[in-house]
């Protein structure tokens, strides 16, 4: 399986070349959140894509944007029946505006509230009436459909736009979704289910509900700084974006040489203390690739204290401490379902362009992380690169790319 096209919509740029240049420059896109008033939130910063998207489904718009670039970059022609689409996307919630409207139904018999053209909706004192809610949701159906609560609409929209008639799948395993979607696409090509696949991931979680949820988990950086593998890291910063690639069985400059997935089967929120699941995913991906020498690791690297330490120890155990290790999350935040896909693009860049993209924010590497974090971009020819993506709940995906 070979990489033929790349596309991205990121907080650092609306295409992959611009994003790669700014990542190489050490830019960081984390800023105060502009999308809504964050006073009092557990985190008030994020990395937002500077792109106004139409309608309520930002995920779909970002995913399509990246897919168009990747498809144009690939320049392939394919029988529609042999074109597949695999997208990592998460979270079935409706947008917060829709949730508010749904609650409006529940209190409709009690005076309701109005959503003014500008400003905040006004609530009376309410008693939540579940029966009214159940009965009233039918009237909101059109609005719910407009809001498109399903993350599967991203893959469906890409399939429609590119007339893909082959396998179309949405992979939802939280933070590993994007990488797992590329794994699934590579498997589909390997198994002969399709010849070409548009694949990647998208996250659009700069959202009040997700900020509250991640805040409740105490997973967000209180300082508002993402610095994976740094001694002072204290949590992740939410980001958003989409990264897509076009894979094909026809030879190209970069090969997807190894793919693997594993489960920790250990704990709802914490990784296995020895990183056992991560080790198995990395080792299996390397074995699948024929154990090539790894010259660059694009880590999951969330900037949370425990996860980074466990991942670093797992990397050191599996590939040693020689290769430089980076995480794009220092620059563009944590895209959740899209995270593994932007990491994949960075690894492909190392192999194809010979530029090892760095980890922004690392100035004091944590000695408990026995790896070599890469604080600045380096021009070096990477023969092969390893990509990790690990999810809450213990689902892991690893890939190996190498020069063809």
């Amino acid at each position: 399986m070979f990489v033929h096209g790349r596309g991205a919509a990121t907080p650092l740029g609306l295409d992959w070349p611009q994003t790669a240049r700014r990542l190489a420059d050490g830019a960081c896109a984390i800023r105060p959140i502009a999308a809504f008033d964050t006073t009092g939130y557990p985190s008030t910063v994020a990395a937002e894509v500077p792109l106004a998207t139409p309608g309520p489904d930002r995920r779909r718009a970002l995913g399509l944007h990246a897919a168009r670039e990747a498809w144009a970059d690939a320049g392939l022609r394919v029988d529609p029946a042999r074109l597949g689409v695999f997208v990592g996307a998460e979270s079935g919630r409706a947008p917060v505006e829709t949730i508010i409207s749904l609650v409006q139904v529940a209190i409709a018999g009690q005076g309701g509230f109005e959503v003014p053209a500008e400003g905040r909706p006004r609530f009376p004192e309410i008693a939540f009436d579940h029966a009214a809610f159940g009965a009233g949701t039918r009237a909101l159906a059109e609005q719910v459909e407009r809001a498109t609560v399903s993350p599967a609409t991203v893959a469906a929209a890409i399939a429609r736009e590119f007339a893909a008639e082959g396998p179309v799948a949405t992979i939802s395993i939280a933070c590993a979704s994007g990488a797992a979607a590329i794994v699934e696409a590579a498997r589909a090509i390997r198994l002969g289910r399709c010849d070409v696949a548009i694949c990647g991931g998208v996250g659009a979680d700069v959202d009040p509900l997700m900020l509250v949820g991640f805040g409740k988990l105490r997973a967000l950086s209180a300082r508002g700084i993402s610095r994976p593998f740094d001694l002072r890291r204290d949590g992740f910063v939410v980001g958003e974006g989409a990264a897509m690639v076009v894979l094909a069985s026809a030879p190209g400059p970069v090969e997807v040489a190894g793919i693997a997935r594993s489960l920790d089967g250990h704990h709802l929120t914490a990784p296995h203390p020895d990183g056992a699941g991560a080790r198995r995913a990395m080792a299996a991906a390397l074995a699948d690739a024929g154990d090539p020498p790894i010259d660059y690791v694009q880590a999951h690297g969330t900037s949370t204290p425990l996860n980074d330490r466990v991942e670093a120890q797992a990397i050191a155990a599996v590939v040693g401490d020689a290769p430089p290790v980076a995480s794009v999350k220092g620059a563009v935040g944590h895209w959740i379902a899209g995270a593994g896909a932007i990491g994949f693009l960075a690894a492909v860049h190392a192999v194809q362009a010979g530029i090892l993209l760095p980890t922004a924010g690392v100035t004091a590497p944590d000695p408990a992380c026995p790896i070599r974090p890469l604080p600045e971009a380096r021009v070096a020819s990477a023969r092969a690169a390893l990509i990790n993506a690990f999810a809450f709940g213990g689902a892991n995906a690893s890939l190996v790319v190498r020069a063809a």
């Binding site: 079935g92 579940h130 609560v149 509250v212 709802l268």
Partner: protein
């Protein structure tokens, strides 16, 4: 190339189990009394884990038992079709109540005090992967995996992935199926004109080792609608349980095999997001 189905677990409005499922012509839409998935985390799980995740845990536990597989499961694969119903409205309600500030919905209030009203794993109830990860954690399942979402056809892909993984030697045993609930108010609104009653549940098949109950012969999926067959049974009276429905359809077919009234079956599903899927089963 076919793969043996050696265990089935199913839970839905009819209760827990799959024997006799093919004789039902309609079922209550909801699982009224959730049986415990496992002992050690029952109370915790009920409080913080989504209903589809609990359904998956129950069905997976029963599939393992029927297949006679004993722990540990370091190399067992797990592929599930999952849904997108979102967080429970009780949590949303609690959060939004706290977000009222002098009668107005206040996003700052939502951020400042709303998070005190929701359970610690609220974020995960908004996401879908815990439908896969929760039963994996309960049973220590650690093999290759994916949670596939297309609210119907994704479950067919999950079954196909499991079958392929066994045939390719990626794993020797796998669990595959689907778990979902269409009874979330947001989903109910979206499906207002759906021809079947809305339902919830899970069904999971144990594949690859043990005494065969049936054979998984193949799966097909894509954007082309399969042609109808005169012998097709209409399973819509059992309800639309989204990602769970194709897997429940497999359980119905295996029950038909058990009763001797069929020896081949195809389960046809139409995903809400434009995908169709077909599963081919044969009696053992």
């Amino acid at each position: 190339m076919r793969v043996a189905i050696t265990g089935v677990g199913a839970v839905g409005g009819w209760g827990r189990g799959w024997h006799g499922l093919s004789a039902l012509d309609r079922v209550p839409p909801a699982v009224a009394d959730l049986p415990p998935p496992l002992d050690r985390t029952d109370a915790f799980a009920r409080r913080i884990v989504s209903r589809p995740a609990i359904f998956a845990a129950i069905a997976l536990s029963d599939a393992l038992a029927e297949a006679g597989w004993a722990a540990p499961f370091p190399d067992v694969g797990l592929w599930l079709g999952v849904g997108a119903s979102g967080g429970p409205l009780t949590q949303m309600e609690a959060l939004l109540r706290r977000a009222l500030d002098a009668g107005a919905l206040s996003l700052p209030a939502l951020g400042r005090v709303g998070l005190r009203a929701v359970n610690p794993l609220f974020a995960f109830q908004l996401m879908n992967n815990f439908t896969l990860c929760h039963p994996a954690i309960l049973h220590g399942i650690r093999g290759p995996n994916a949670a596939l979402l297309s609210r119907g056809a994704g479950t067919v892909i999950a079954l196909d992935e499991a079958r392929r993984a066994i045939l390719d030697g990626e794993c020797t045993r796998a669990l595959a199926g689907g778990a979902d609930s269409a009874l979330h108010p947001v989903t109910a609104a979206e499906l207002r004109d759906h021809p079947a009653p809305l339902a919830e549940g899970a069904a999971i098949l144990a594949l690859g080792a043990g005494t065969p109950l049936a054979w998984l012969e193949g799966c097909h999926y894509g954007r082309a609608r399969p042609a109808p067959d005169p012998d097709d049974l209409d399973l819509r009276p059992l309800g639309e349980a989204l990602a769970a429905s194709p897997a429940i359809g497999c359980a119905v077919a295996i029950d038909l095999f058990r009763r001797g009234s069929r020896d081949r079956a195809r389960i046809v599903t139409s995903g809400l997001d434009g995908q169709f899927g077909v599963v081919h089963l044969r009696a053992a």
